[in-house]
């Protein structure tokens, strides 16, 4: 029992509600939501260290014993993700302060960011399947509002598709929960895992697991990613960065949880399918990333590539590969937020979205240019930066199980990432500058500081890999040995 756990979700929910009443006090709203995320950050660091000592923590709501009540379980994997979520949200809020505009701030923008974070944190921490669904919906409803807030034509048009697809996928989620409940008679993760291990993963259960795979693929943008680029390009920069960093990662988290804790007995079927889908996603994402000249599309397709990349680790399922996936997950949340922020800054500075309409930006905004360069290297996986270790470990895992096709796709897709971003860098930062000194839009500090912060984090994550490695290794260990999780839930 550890009551700190509930704060990670309860605090954003309560604060989100309180902020509704503080509608007119924009400055107050800003700093309250900012401090909530800082508090979440501190709590998750405390929790991470406690988990190191005591193993996964749990909180039974209302004192109901595990298989009967609902509860939160925190193992290293979920808390690492919560930690990264708070870092990303703090920075996106900081960016929003100077970019989002009064009209958004007056229309409950900060409330909905808080609700979104509550949903995301809840999904990471929950200990049973139905609450995963509920937290997903909390997150999705907040994201529906955030994507449409502002009510521009393009936002409304994209959000219709986004909402429709997510409603249908939530329905599939409910159906699969119903089937699993009918087959197993419980929805608690640990209890399910135990029962599935007892009865063996029968063909029926494998079919149910594939339905789960469909749902989470839709949410994570694995293979079924057609909705993603459009809807991530529509909202304003700070929101798009939050989306790009958080939303797909929840689907990925759910997939890791379900396929390492529950359905890990038939890897020949389920994990092969995941591997196949991840490969197709890598190819499709790579094609998308180099096909467009709209910078928002390029950046969104980079999200798709990363999803394929992380799930190669799950498909391979060796200790190194899982560790690599976790490492890459952290890296990707931070770097994708940074990439979206930089792209958004470029758009608001020049007023264009197509890369061939911008040129020579590095003359006017050198720091922006060099930060873009660092992001590019980090995403491509150049050693001192944070992407390298994840790629190395996933590659190592793929070699170990001799799936050379996936290995090739992983590294070719890295080259495509590098190429797509290098193209942006060359056409829009290099060359003749189109902006004369008089027309130069001044760079706001509020735009630059968040980006600098994230750049520092990505460099720090690469250089400080040793410090993080302990937690990542523990998370991978828990994922690969479901007994640790089950023990933590059923025994005190």
């Amino acid at each position: 029992m550890n009551n700190l756990l509930v704060l990670l979700m309860a605090l954003p929910v309560l604060v989100g509600i309180v902020l509704i009443f503080l509608r007119r006090y924009v400055r107050l709203q800003r700093w309250i939501s900012f401090s909530v995320m800082i508090i979440n950050f501190i709590i998750s660091i405390i929790l991470l260290n406690q988990i190191q000592e005591q193993g996964p923590l749990r909180l039974d709501f209302g004192g109901w014993e595990p298989p009967f009540g609902i509860m939160f379980v925190a193992d290293s994997f979920s808390v690492i993700l919560v930690l990264t979520t708070s870092i990303v949200t703090v920075v996106c809020l900081l960016y929003a302060f100077s970019s989002i505009g009064k009209s958004y701030e007056n229309m409950f923008f900060y409330s909905f960011v808080n609700f979104l974070v509550a949903g995301v944190n809840g999904s990471f921490l929950t200990g049973d399947l139905f609450n995963l669904y509920v937290c997903f919906e909390v997150m999705l409803l907040a994201s529906y509002v955030l994507i449409t807030l502002g009510g521009k034509k393009v936002q409304l048009r994209e959000s219709i598709k986004y909402v429709a697809i997510n409603v249908v996928s939530s329905w599939i989620f409910l159906v699969s929960i119903a089937y699993l409940y009918g087959a197993m008679g419980t929805l608690n993760f640990a209890h399910l895992s135990e029962r599935i291990a007892e009865s063996g993963q029968t063909p029926l259960l494998t079919v149910i697991s594939v339905i789960f795979l469909t749902v989470f693929s839709l949410k994570a943008g694995l293979f079924l990613y057609y909705w993603l680029p459009g809807s991530y390009s529509a909202p304003p920069t700070a929101v798009a960065a939050l989306f790009g960093a958080l939303l797909t990662k929840v689907g990925i988290y759910a997939m890791f949880r379900v396929f390492t804790l529950l359905f890990y007995h038939e890897p020949a079927i389920t994990h092969t399918i995941i591997g196949f889908l991840a490969g197709v996603t890598l190819v499709g994402g790579s094609i998308g990333a180099i096909a467009y000249k709209d910078i928002r599309q390029i950046v969104s397709y980079n999200v798709v590539i990363a999803v394929g990349f992380i799930l190669v680790g799950l498909a391979v399922m060796t200790p190194e590969a899982i560790e690599g996936s976790i490492y890459y997950l952290m890296h990707d949340m931070i770097v994708k937020a940074l990439l979206f922020l930089l792209a958004g800054t470029m758009i608001s500075l020049t007023g264009y979205v197509r890369i061939d309409h911008m040129s020579g930006l590095i003359k006017n905004y050198p720091l922006l240019g060099w930060m873009f360069f660092i992001v590019m290297l980090s995403l491509a996986g150049v050693p001192p930066l944070s992407g390298f270790i994840g790629k190395l470990l996933i590659g190592q895992g793929a070699v170990e199980v001799e799936s050379y096709l996936l290995l090739t796709l992983v590294f070719i897709s890295s080259i495509f990432v590098l190429y797509s971003l290098l193209r942006v860098f060359l056409t829009s930062f290099w060359g003749e500058t189109l902006i004369s000194e008089d027309d130069e839009e001044p760079m706001k500090k509020g735009w630059l500081i968040p980006c600098v912060l994230l750049t520092v984090v990505t460099i720090g994550l690469g250089l400080g890999a040793e410090t993080v490695a302990v937690y990542v290794a523990d998370a991978a260990n828990t994922l690969l040995n479901p007994d640790i999780y089950i023990d933590a839930v059923f025994n005190d």
């Binding site: 509920v134 521009k152 048009r157």
Partner: protein, 112 residues
Amino acid sequence: METLITILAGVLVTVATYLILSRNLIRVILGTAILSHASHLLIMTMGGLKTGSVPLLGEDSETFVDAVPQALILTSIVISFAVTALFLVLAYRTYQETGADKLHELRGFKDE
């Protein structure tokens, strides 16, 4: 009884699929609403139906119905109401802004 309800759920899914595949936005939204009802029926059937019983009758009662599916359905009905309401408002706003109430008019992503 289980068979009957399962068939009913199947019919609802059929109707909903037909509606979702149509071009009209309002029909799509109605389709998603019906889809969620089908899934609620499915959850209830999966928990097992016993004619004439209620969930909780104390420890000694001989027949009772599993209470968990009912709790799940209750939560999920609330969520689907919220989503449907939001979706309807969204469709109305989209119609106001773009003049489109057919899905194919909303296709593609153009630079704006």
